[in-house]
Amino acid sequence: MDYLKAFLVGGAICAIAQIIHDNTELSPAHILVGLVMVGAVLGGLGVYDLLVDFAGAGALVPVSGFGNAIVNGMLNEVKRLGWEGLFTGAFEITGLGVTTAIIFGALMAVLFRPKG
């Protein structure tokens, strides 16, 4: 059941992005930035975690979930440290992924050539 919910919600978020892409002049980069900001704002309002509770990875994996993870990290760190948490929190949850992206990106660049 959780796989079906992840499929439907994750698929729906991607389909909405595709509809925006096909009907506006916005570039994919603009849509991704818009989605991460929507995720951050809904995260700050406490709404996005309700979607995560329902859909699991269907809400976590789209880039809006990345925005939500930035905010959740900031909120955790504000609870722990006070105002400093606003500055240390962005990478509390996302840092693992960002560092992974850098290490694997560099590794792939060393190992493989781009095609064409």
Partner: protein
């Protein structure tokens, strides 16, 4: 052009208009839905493997994201991800694997300009805006929430 040819031309144009864009439009959405949903199912598989081991949901989320990022980088290195992205559009761009794809693809592409000023400088040429605006908007909303709920003062 006489009237008959003109009418034929018009009705042909009409047919083209009706026939071409709509199937692509529906197909694009369907492919984005299926591919994006499929990637999230892989994410759910990772999530379910990690969840029993990790003490907090934040750690489960972090490891799920990082694992998907690693898988996205591997698929990009092998050339699979770009093949997929050409076919499914936002279905490959929106999941966090797409974020990873832009980092790895930029690293591979700009390596030819050198490891320092090529790969090092331009790795986040596409992923950078997502980080910058995610953090700017996250900072603003978290500050507001912290002030209004009395977390700060």
């Amino acid at each position: 052009m006489d009237k008959a040819t003109h009418d034929l031309h018009d009705s042909y144009q009409q047919m083209v208009k009706v026939a071409t864009p709509k199937p692509n439009y529906v197909k694009n959405i369907a492919l984005a839905f299926l591919a994006g949903g499929g990637i999230c199912v892989i994410g759910q598989l990772v999530y379910n493997l990690v969840d029993p081991v990790e003490p907090t949901s934040a750690e489960t989320a972090a490891i799920t994201l990082a694992t998907m990022i690693a898988l996205g980088a591997l698929a990009t290195g092998l050339g699979v991800y770009d093949w997929l992205a050409e076919r499914v559009g936002m279905g490959a761009a929106v999941p966090i694997t797409g974020f990873s794809n832009t980092v790895t693809a930029a690293a591979m592409e700009f390596k030819r300009e050198g490891y320092l000023l090529g790969m090092g400088a331009k790795m986040f040429v596409i992923a950078g805006p997502v980080l910058v605006y995610g953090i700017l908007s996250g900072f603003a909303i978290t500050l507001l929430r912290a002030v209004f709920t009395g977390m700060l003062f």
